[in-house]
């Protein structure tokens, strides 16, 4: 081969100017055989003991049952090792699957059109805000404080780049967004969008009341609905039904592993009016030159590889495989399965809530109905209670003081269809002991 190329050696072929050539040995992990690598990673796994604990953590990532059929189909080499379907004739399978994903998201959110996925829920929100800014020409947004703190943090990061203003709506005693100040805020400032999450970070179903929606629409402001627990879309009133123009969120709950936070599958859906502003890839149905049904990436002229600096977004690689996993999950569960799983989530969470609020010193903080999460006030700092629970090999939930200093004595707890009555009883016993026996102030 070297002879065909016309050089004497590999070294000659790859030579670079001396000023930039590597001279010293590079210190990275050692080369190992596959057996040794497996042993090494099993060591890493053993050092990751969280799996041995009973966990009630939710907060934007949810443990759900993933039927093995999902992995069996999604990990097929054709899907796993395929490239972006730019060559439509040899990608009909993947393109159709994405079209089906787009349909599922549209049906679940009640909106007209959805894209082929974005990185995750937080970046989906950032992209949704960019859409609203482009649609209205306004450079401020109003965001509920009950939206996931990490999502709001990402929005802040993007806002510094885009130079937009972010104002906040507080949450109220019931655990939902407090819209009292809305009219005044809308009068003082021209917002591109108002952003609300339902169920919100506290687990409360947080649908804006009709008068708030009317006030938003009256000022030609867009309404963005955020969903971090996509399973809730199977049973709750859709974002479209309460007036959302754009729905964004996280579809991890549909068949994707928790995986320490990624990769997951963000989604964006919008009304037909916003179609040309949707970032990222879109799959359309058309015909081939012989009249057969065919699928193809469409409206690409908006995207980075053509429009460059005037693109709707810079997004290129998205989360196609995670969206595929979600699509297979939705197909396998179906309407009936989704409703059953969702109902179990609600029922288990109600059971958990009843068990823990009965513990002296503990109270459920918010009275608004929720889906599969709620906030529990404990008799002292949540961090201390959670640490004590860990001695019982339980991860009791999220210390809300991490994000909301006023809730430093509160734990965000989640139950899913995987949570059993026995596990709830075990937690309640441990929490009773921890709550009752520990000195105050820890």
């Amino acid at each position: 081969m070297l002879r065909v190329v016309g050089v004497g050696s590999l070294d000659e072929l790859v030579r670079v100017p001396d000023a930039v050539a590597v001279k010293a040995p590079i210190d990275l992990v050692p080369a190992l055989s596959e057996i040794e690598i497996t042993a090494r990673f099993e060591q890493f796994a053993q050092r990751t003991s969280a799996g041995d604990y009973l966990s009630f953590l939710g907060a934007g990532v949810y443990r759900h049952y993933i039927p093995p059929v999902i992995g069996a189909l999604a990990m097929r080499g054709e899907f796993l090792t395929s490239y972006t379907p730019y060559q439509a004739e040899v990608s009909q399978g993947y393109l159709q699957a994405i079209y089906e994903w787009q349909t599922y998201i549209a049906l679940l959110t009640g909106l007209d059109v959805a894209n082929a996925s974005v990185y995750d829920g937080a970046t989906a929100l950032a992209e949704g805000v960019v859409m609203a800014i482009n649609a209205t020409g306004r450079r401020a947004v109003l965001v509920s404080k009950a939206v996931h703190p990490n999502y709001r943090a990402v929005l802040q990061t993007y806002a510094r780049g885009l130079e937009i203003t972010i104002d906040e709506l507080p949450y109220g005693a019931s655990g939902t967004t407090d819209f009292a100040a809305l009219q005044q805020l809308l009068a003082d400032q021209h917002y591109a969008a108002v952003v609300v999450q339902s169920p919100n970070f506290f687990g409360s179903i947080d649908v804006p009341p009709a008068d708030a929606v009317a006030a938003v629409k009256a000022t030609n402001t867009l309404l963005i609905g955020v969903t971090a627990e996509a399973l809730a879309l199977a049973v709750l009133a859709t974002p479209a039904s309460w007036g959302a123009d754009i729905a964004v969120g996280e579809a991890q709950s549909f068949g994707n592993a928790v995986a320490y936070g990624g990769p997951h599958a963000g989604f964006i859906a919008a009304t037909g009016e916003q179609m040309r502003r949707i970032p990222g890839r879109l799959v359309g149905r058309t015909v081939d030159k012989d009249g057969r049904t065919a699928y193809v990436l469409t409206l690409q002229a908006r995207e980075q590889h053509i429009r460059r600096e005037k693109a709707t977004s810079n997004i290129c690689t998205n989360q196609a495989h995670c969206a595929l996993i979600a699509t297979i999950y939705l197909a396998a569960l179906g309407k009936t399965g989704l409703r059953d799983v969702a109902a179990h989530n609600v029922a288990r969470t109600a059971e958990l809530r009843a068990a823990v609020k009965a513990i002296p010193g503990c109270e459920v903080v918010f009275r608004a109905p929720g889906f599969n999460e709620f906030v529990l006030r404990v008799p002292r700092r949540a961090s201390g209670v959670l640490e004590a629970l860990r001695k019982h090999r339980i991860i009791g939930g999220l210390d809300l003081g991490r994000f909301y200093p006023e809730l430093a004595d509160c734990v965000l707890m989640n139950a899913t269809e995987l949570t059993t009555t026995a596990q709830i009883a075990h937690l309640a016993t441990a929490l009773r002991e921890v709550a009752v026996h520990a000195p105050a102030g820890i």
Partner: protein
């Protein structure tokens, strides 16, 4: 690939209510658990048996090319083999089921994986530190520009408003710059296809924030004056950003940090064998030089009791923590800490190769690309016919003039031969551009088969152009009406009224 003998109607066209699979026990009706006013009226999704779901998606997979079935000489995409061991390791339950809010003490193995990968990347590419936060290359570019913006703000330098981008740059570069409010200045490549030092000296000034480049560039050519280019940009007070899409060309051979780059990103789904999965998920770690470390996104993985200028393998004695307390950080770019499952895969790939193995990867990638170029240069125009790196470009311009056959058509004809088409029409600099990148994981037999097929097609393009214009003929669908798709957008199925 012969068309399958079966149709694949939409999943929504089949199914029947109640034809459900019993994954969970029967549940109480939701109306008994929540107020009716909060519930949706209906859920128009189909119920399909597991068999019908399996058949549906299996058939869809059979209508889809993947590296596992065909050679993908896609320039700029680095379609190398995706080792299965990586997926098995990412699927270890302790790693797969780990919650991002799990306390650090219970996540030490996962944190060790992230730390070892980060230290390995820093050493391999000559940067002071990496963040594993960004989800993709474009996401990393955005992060890098936000870092640049924060850096200048902290210095009090308000004049830096421009990003310099060569005309051969990937479209995400200017798109990312625009998202951060920077003006984009496009630099014309010189007659050698490279960025000229004089052009940089002329363009770089007090308004230059960042110069975004890749090396080798998107023509597959090594920017041999990169050192001087970086010096010129630094002299003007600007920063150099390395687009890591072409990193497969230079591992173990040359390092962006040594070239003078202050910022860089990697595409783990290109260079580090993470599967492309039909369009993601990818992962785009971002690396920085020492003066920019404080601005990296949070969290980073901190190793307590360790001198962080070097890695330590094994890292079992160290204690790790997620560090969020970084006052100059640009913030966080995504919901959680990283596309962690891909960090597992990437570290496994590093372990499978080691430093010498990765150097060999790049050498063979360069050899394979040059071998193809040298084997077709007599039948198609090679605009920059010299030793290239891991990819090279050809131009079908003269063929188009002769018989009307374009790069697009040549790509379609390759599909009939069981090859994925190369990248076409990028970079924009070369008319009727065909960019070929074989990667190191292809055998000589595969390359020879591709060369023979391409030679046949190029001859047909001149002697029997209609045969190329009609392609593809053996794929599940023939050429698709993209105009109709864009004029009458049909982006989803609708339930019958």
């Amino acid at each position: 690939m012969p068309p399958p003998a079966f149709e694949t109607p939409l999943i929504f066209d089949g199914g029947q209510d109640g034809r459900a699979n019993r994954y969970v026990p029967p549940a109480p009706p939701i109306a008994n658990l929540l107020p009716a006013a909060l519930l949706r009226d209906d859920l128009p999704l189909p119920d399909n048996t597991e068999l019908d779901v399996v058949r549906h998606f299996t058939r869809l997979s059979q209508k889809t090319f993947g590296i596992d079935t065909v050679f993908y000489p896609l320039g700029s995409c680095t379609m190398k083999y995706n080792p299965r061991i990586n997926d098995a390791l990412a699927n270890l339950p302790a790693l797969r089921d780990l919650h991002p809010f799990a306390p650090d003490e219970l996540a030490q193995g996962a944190l060790a994986i992230m730390w070892e990968l980060e230290r390995s990347l820093a050493a391999l590419f000559g940067m002071a530190a990496f963040s594993l936060n960004p989800a993709a290359g474009a996401h990393a570019e955005l992060t890098a520009l936000l870092i640049a913006k924060a850096y200048y703000k902290k210095k009090g330098d308000t004049r830096r408003t421009t990003v310099i981008v060569p005309d051969t740059a990937h479209g995400t570069n200017p798109a990312s710059a625009a998202m951060v409010g920077y003006n984009v200045v496009s630099l014309k490549s010189d007659e050698r296809g490279r960025v000229s030092v004089d052009a940089i000296r002329a363009a770089a000034g007090p308004d230059t924030a960042v110069c975004m480049m890749t090396n080798p560039n998107t023509l597959g050519l090594f920017e041999d004056h990169i050192h001087e280019i970086a010096a010129a940009v630094h002299a003007a007070g600007g920063l150099m950003y390395y687009d890591g899409a072409n990193a497969n060309a230079l591992m173990g051979n040359s390092r962006p940090g040594d070239m003078g780059f202050d910022l860089m990103h990697l595409n783990l789904h290109k260079t580090f064998s993470i599967p492309h999965g039909g369009g993601g998920a990818g992962a785009g770690p971002i690396g920085v030089a020492a003066h920019l470390v404080p601005f990296l996104p949070v969290p980073i993985v901190r190793a307590d009791g360790c001198d962080e200028t070097h890695g330590r393998w094994p890292s079992d004695e160290l204690t790790f923590a997620l560090d969020f307390d970084r006052p100059d950080s640009v913030g966080t770019m995504r919901s959680f800490w990283s596309n962690f499952a891909h960090m597992v895969r990437a570290l496994a790939y590093c372990y499978a190769n080691g430093a010498a193995g990765l150097a060999r990867v790049s050498q063979l990638a360069v050899l394979n690309a040059n071998y193809i170029r040298a084997s077709i240069r007599d039948v198609i125009e090679i605009p920059y016919d010299e030793i290239n790196r891991h990819e090279f470009v050809a131009s079908a311009q003269s063929i188009k003039r002769e018989t009307g056959v374009r790069a697009f058509d040549i790509g379609k004809a390759l599909l009939d031969r069981g090859y994925h088409a190369p990248t076409v029409y990028f970079p924009l600099l070369v008319p009727e551009c065909i960019m070929i990148e074989p990667t190191e994981t292809e055998s000589k037999e595969t390359l020879d088969g591709f060369i023979a097929a391409l030679r046949d097609i190029l001859i047909a393009a001149r002697e029997d152009p209609q045969s190329v214009l009609d392609a593809p003929l053996t794929t599940p669908v023939s050429r698709v009406d993209e105009t109709r798709a864009a004029r009458q957008p049909d982006l989803r199925w609708r339930p019958p009224a």
